[in-house]
């Protein structure tokens, strides 16, 4: 018997790691992976709540999150490839043409 809050704390830790990765890392692909990490954390909390309320809808939602994550990963990586072609770098600090 594991208290629900433990699952939520684990989910929170995963999410925080994801955010920190987004803030700290410089490689755009690594940043994307941090995003995936964040999504996974959220998925875990969904399933945990679904288990508490004995509801299957939580799982369905996780499905959809996964689908969207997949689509987003595909398109995002395509964009990264396109940006790499012009900027010749994967360093996110050097893609700052929108600077004021």
């Amino acid at each position: 018997m594991v208290p629900l809050s433990y699952y939520l704390v684990l989910s929170g830790i995963l999410f925080v790691c994801g955010v920190l990765g987004f803030l700290i890392k410089r490689n755009i692909i690594t940043i994307f992976m941090s995003i995936e990490l964040m999504l996974n954390g959220v998925n875990l909390s969904f399933v945990a709540f679904a288990a508490q309320w004995h509801s299957l809808s939580g799982q369905i939602f996780v499905f959809f999150v996964m689908v969207v994550a997949a689509a987003e990963a595909a398109v995002g990586l395509a964009i990264i490839i396109a940006v790499y072609r012009t900027r010749e770098t994967l360093n996110v600090d050097q893609v700052n043409l929108l600077k004021l």
């Binding site: 987004f22 803030l23 600090d93 929108l98």
Partner: protein, 661 residues
């Protein structure tokens, strides 16, 4: 009080010159000079004829006349309308203004013919007539004030007529500003009248004031009003301490000096004081102040006139001095004597100025008397009429000036011999400097340069000094200028006879004596004092003759004496010649601090420091803020993420806090 009779022609008298001014003002630029003159003379002459017509049909029984023109102000219980009013006093003033004004219009046709802004001059002259007539024919103080301000405006426009000349523009400004100081006093007096009596209408107001007993304790409402009105009169009629604008006003063309600064505008103050006699009679201290100011001004400016070398400046100081006489008369309660002198003064002073203009025109623009002389041979007519005017102003019988001046001196004597003595001394000085003017201008040999004068006139042709001919030798003026001179000379000779047997005073009695109560300060004319009167008359005639003799001595028989006397007197002579440095004193006391204060406090301190700074600094602040804020838009993905994380933390904190509450 009997209600005034209606006279439907009254309103036309001021309006006709206004129409002339409007037509000449708007259409004059493209009209021919003949058309302009015709318009100006017609409208002014029509006003004069109308005034004559009304005067002929005037009967004291049905006076005063009035005519309501239009509604104006309604504010609660206070109301003021455009009403015109004619009683004996305003009849006299109206005739003087229209008559002398018309003569001067005719004179100006000849004098200003060659000026390039001829139409503007005639338009301004007509405009002045309109305002002066409004002032004189007004039925309430507020309409009088319109005329008051309007003549100040016309004076400014006409003094600075040749506005391209710096001195003329400054003189116009000075006149207007000094006038304004007086107007301030006038306005406060009006406010006090409105506050305490609720009306400014002459019949209604004076009916309310009549039952008030005189304020013998020296302080009180009527004294305050009287003093404030006197401040206004000092400004308009150039008394101490606000006389400084009138000598400078000689920058204007000579007809302007004649009309405005001799005959009519400067007399507005005297008229106003006479009109307010009911207030002054109940405020003895104010009346005394009027008398003192008038007397002192008369003496003071007469002394300045001794040392002046510009012919117009002598006449200007003479005007101020004679105005002092009029105020002295009003100050001792002899209002009708003051008005009498006003009328005769209009004749001979107007004549003096016009003749001076003829002289200046004849010698090609020269105004310095030291460069004149011997002109009696070149300009006999001018010499004659100017001589008549000089005799009149000196008070030689039986010319007009003698009757009016003697009347004033007699009335002054019956109040206090001090006034009389100063008046006599001033009469002596007046006679002296007027005959000095005559001898320097017409006597001896011509000291001017003749042919050189013509070159000088050619050089000054462009900026429009008084004359533009420069024919070389001095010459007589054309008849269009001499005609009015002759008419005025005749009036100066015979005009005084209306005062014979106190006819003039009795004519004005319904105005001044209608509400006299026993115990008020009134000129006491004891019945059995005729011998005193004759004695006083003799004294004034003899001092006039003395003045003439002295002038003859110094400027005709021994012309080297004046220079020696001036040397001997040294500093005193310099002070008098420099007008006692009054202008410099005012500049240091008032003008300089005002300008400096305005520059440092108002301009640099408030306008630049506060208002401009507020606008500029707020713009700067906006720029600085946006300068800082734009650093947020760095194009860097991670900083955006940082901001999002911070914001997210804030939202979470807020939600937790709400949850705890």
């Amino acid at each position: 009080m009997t209600p005034p009779t209606s006279n439907p022609l009254l309103w036309l008298i001021p309006i006709l010159p206004l129409a002339g001014a409007a037509i000449n003002g708007f259409f004059g630029r493209q009209s021919s000079k003949k058309a302009i003159s015709a318009i100006a003379l017609t409208f002014c002459g029509a006003a004069f004829l109308l005034a004559l017509w009304i005067a002929i049909g005037f009967s004291s029984a049905s006076a005063p006349y009035s005519f309501p023109l239009a509604h104006w102000l309604r504010s609660g219980s206070f109301s003021v309308d455009f009403d015109f009013y004619l009683d004996q006093l305003s009849l006299v003033m109206m005739l003087v203004v229209t008559g002398v004004g018309f003569l001067i219009h005719i004179y100006s046709v000849g004098y200003m013919w060659d000026d390039e802004s001829y139409y503007r001059f005639m338009a301004y002259l007509n405009l002045f007539m309109f305002f002066m007539l409004t002032l004189v024919l007004a039925k309430n103080y507020l309409m009088m004030f319109i005329g008051w301000e309007g003549v100040g405006l016309a004076s400014y426009l006409l003094i600075g007529f040749w506005f391209t000349k710096d001195s003329a523009a400054s003189a116009g400004k000075k006149a207007f500003i000094v006038n304004r100081i007086g107007d301030f006093g006038f306005l406060i007096a009006l406010f006090l009248l409105i506050q305490h009596f609720g009306t400014l209408d002459f019949p209604a107001l004076f009916a309310k004031i009549q039952p008030i007993s005189p304020e013998t304790t020296g302080a009180g409402l009527l004294t305050a009003i009287g003093l404030l009105l006197m401040v206004g009169a000092c400004g308009k009629s150039a008394q101490i301490p606000l006389y400084v604008w009138l000598p400078d006003a000689m920058e204007g063309p000579t007809p302007v000096s004649a009309l405005i600064h001799a005959a009519t505008m400067v007399t507005a103050g005297v008229y106003m004081v006479a009109r307010s006699h009911m207030i002054f009679e109940r405020a003895p201290s104010a009346l005394t102040v009027v008398a003192i100011i008038g007397t002192l001004t008369a003496l003071f400016t007469a002394t300045i006139g001794i040392a002046q070398t510009d012919i117009k400046k002598v006449l200007a100081y003479s005007t101020v001095s004679q105005l002092g006489y009029m105020f002295m008369a009003c100050g001792v309660g002899a209002f009708s004597a003051g008005i009498f002198h006003l009328m005769t003064h209009a004749f001979f002073k107007g004549l003096l100025f016009l003749a001076a203009g003829s002289v200046i025109h004849g010698v090609g623009g020269e105004q310095d008397m030291r460069k004149m002389g011997g002109l009696r041979l070149y300009m006999p007519w001018t010499f004659t009429v100017m001589g008549i005017a000089t005799l009149a102003i000196a008070g030689i019988p039986p010319l007009a000036g003698f009757w009016s001046k003697d009347e004033i001196l007699a009335q002054a004597f019956s109040v206090s011999w001090v006034y009389w003595l100063i008046g006599v001394v001033t009469a002596f000085i007046t006679s002296f400097y007027m005959f000095r003017l005559m001898y320097m201008t017409f006597g001896g040999d011509y000291r001017g340069a003749g042919a050189q004068a013509s070159h000088a006139a050619h050089k000054s042709h462009g900026h429009g000094k008084d004359d533009a001919h420069g024919h070389g030798e001095p010459h007589e003026s054309p008849w269009v200028m001499l005609g009015p001179l002759v008419v005025l000379a005749i009036l100066s000779v015979f005009g005084g006879f209306v005062g014979l047997g106190n006819r003039f005073e009795h004519f004005l009695d319904p105005v001044f004596k209608a509400a006299v109560e026993p115990g008020l300060q009134e000129p006491i004319r004891e019945a059995g004092e005729k011998s005193t009167e004759y004695l006083l008359m003799a004294i004034s005639v003899s001092v006039a003759a003395l003045g003439w003799l002295l002038a003859h001595l110094l400027y005709s028989s021994r012309p080297q004496l004046p220079a020696r006397i001036a040397e001997k007197l040294g500093g005193l002579y310099k002070a008098v010649a420099n007008k006692y440095y009054v202008d410099e004193l005012y500049a240091a006391l008032f003008v300089r601090p005002l300008i400096d204060g305005s520059t440092t406090i108002l301009w640099k301190g408030i306008d630049q420091g506060v208002i401009d700074a507020a606008v500029n600094d707020s713009a700067d602040a906006a720029r600085h803020i946006s300068d800082e804020a734009r650093h947020m838009q760095s194009g860097n993905l991670r900083s955006y993420a940082g901001w999002v994380a911070a914001g997210g933390a804030l939202v979470i904190a807020y939600m937790v806090w709400m949850g705890i509450r």
